[in-house]
Symmetry: C2
Amino acid sequence: MSIRYPNGKAYIPKQNERMNVSKKKSISYGNRGMSLEEDINISNDYYLAKGIAVIHKKPTPLQIVKVDYPKRSAAVIKEAYFQQASTTDYNGVFKGKYIDFEAKETKNKTSFPLKNFHKHQIEHMGQVLSQKGICFTLLRFSANDEVFLLDAKYLCSYWYKQEHERKSIPKSEIEALGHVIPHGLYPRIDYLSVVENIYFC
Amino acid sequence: MSIRYPNGKAYIPKQNERMNVSKKKSISYGNRGMSLEEDINISNDYYLAKGIAVIHKKPTPLQIVKVDYPKRSAAVIKEAYFQQASTTDYNGVFKGKYIDFEAKETKNKTSFPLKNFHKHQIEHMGQVLSQKGICFTLLRFSANDEVFLLDAKYLCSYWYKQEHERKSIPKSEIEALGHVIPHGLYPRIDYLSVVENIYFC
């Protein structure tokens, strides 16, 4: 049944109104407005609780300059600075294999900017690949909440070419070379089911 | 040629003087007074530079409470607290396998106190073993600078028994169940040569 105005004229929603509705839905039910990091941490908690894998986010490295030791209470850090991480954010073990990855998101719709990755991280990924570790990146396009797994060998290749070629990875190429991570409730981002299909067959 | 006093009497060093000399030697050349952590970090740098393995110490986890953002300079953390780590200190990849360990030292000469390990760390080690990761502890007896590798399954077993049995692992049992790590110059503590012999045969 169509909706009608009081004057009897049929109500036809405009194209962008429809889009807004579906966009809101996707945010409130699919992603619930959480960051990719929060979603992955919850997924890792699930994997740990179920005995599926042991994967943790590494703490942020800080340079501590000044610490106070007040009587009868814990040491208080009074001056410290954020340091650039020399590795990726996540690592751990799944079925005996070493797992290592970085997670990033972009608001871009058609490509993923390479400036999201630092030189140290790319070098670290290359080192892990040389040691036959499983290494990848999880890329979220936040506009439509799509998450892809892209093997580190592709990311590194694009990253090193960016000086002479483009400074982002086209989404079409991520779709072709990568793998969609299905959304779920438990776990939210079931990237290990995809890892299992790709690396354990 | 023996050393003589001015009165012609031969100088015979006392037993404990001799011991002191050899002890000092062992400190200045063997260990150079560095902590076990420093020695392991240098060894890990060597492994990384030589393409042997990718193993890093995790940053200390901190709870950040207050951050200042002064103009034109980096963010300054003004209040933060040390948090207890929920995992071990070191992990990484060696020949495709996941490596995970904790390093501790004691001044005790005949046993290693179990209070050096926290519940979270022991639980984490159990989880890693369930995932078929390679998990162990490096134990240094600092008095004579001996380092042993002890598989996590033994450490966990002693740790869980401590309520009813002894609160330390006798050195004799560490010698029997563990493996001596030979001292070297490059790398200082070549634990991966031992890991290779134990876990890759």
